[in-house]
Symmetry: C2
Subunit: 164 residues, 2 copies
């Protein structure tokens, strides 16, 4: 996938680097999910915010459905209330399924499309690249909140820069 021509033409970040950037963050988020005690993953909150499981549901509702829209051009409604049956294993299973789907869908985004204007979930307008960065940034944002939840539970979170 790495394209030497891209680097020689001064690409800031290549499509394959951006995919790896995202998947690296997703590996880190997976570790944060795994670090939660199962009960608190679904119940622990601070200041009236959502439990971390609900934030993860939002991330799953954005990643693959958003990419499918980018690839297929079809519009769907945004649905973020998933039923995990209060099971951490179920969340991790869905997370891993999304990892494989993201890799496959990414290969269907032609390089010239990153600057194309789109409207996602019937309402969010921007370029393909700005939409993808929104997906990633929103994940980092909520994962950062998950770190505070873990600390408040006395659990040491994964290292921020660990993307393995």
């Amino acid at each position: 996938m790495e394209n030497i021509t891209e680097n020689k033409t001064g690409q800031v970040i290549t499509p394959s680097q951006l995919l790896e950037h995202w998947q690296g963050h997703r590996r880190s988020t997976r570790k944060v999910i795994a670090a939660f005690p199962e009960k608190e993953l679904f119940t622990h909150t601070i200041g009236g915010m959502r439990p971390f499981s609900a934030m993860v549901s939002e991330l799953l509702a954005i990643a693959v459905p958003g990419l499918k829209e980018i690839v297929g051009g079809n519009t769907s409604e945004f649905k973020e209330d998933m039923d995990f049956g209060n099971s951490k294993a179920k969340i991790l299973e869905l997370w891993d399924e999304a990892t494989v789907e993201i890799d496959a869908l990414w290969q269907q985004i032609a390089p010239e499309r990153f600057q194309e204007y789109i409207k996602l979930f019937g309402q969010y307008e921007g370029t393909v690249q700005s939409s993808l960065f929104y997906f990633i940034d929103n994940e980092i944002h909520h994962r950062g909140q998950g770190y505070v939840y873990l600390r408040s539970l006395g659990v040491e979170p994964p290292l921020f820069y660990d993307r393995d």
Copy 2:
């Protein structure tokens, strides 16, 4: 600064778009700083973490010094313990000074340098682009933590997608 050629050659994100991406996040972080009650900005913590002022000190210690290294190639030690004199106005003043410096330093990064390998602060190795995304992602991460601090203080944080 926008370069039409870059878009036509399939740039995922152009240098000027990446600068605006970062500065948009920095405007959002500025709103989070401003939203804190002054005393709690320097004292409020959860789970043994740092107060938000200390996280902002880290962000300021990374942004301009990191960019100066990228531009000038000189290595400096990482120093993140700033003395704000417990003043929110002082933090916002330093934040705004950094905004201007970032704009000026960015113009000195030649487009082909984003894929160049560097070592920052004498220890962090990566490409220029991966270093810059680390700066941005680390800011989003800590700002997300600031959101939890604000909520736990009963303060409504700015909207995540507000980058104006």
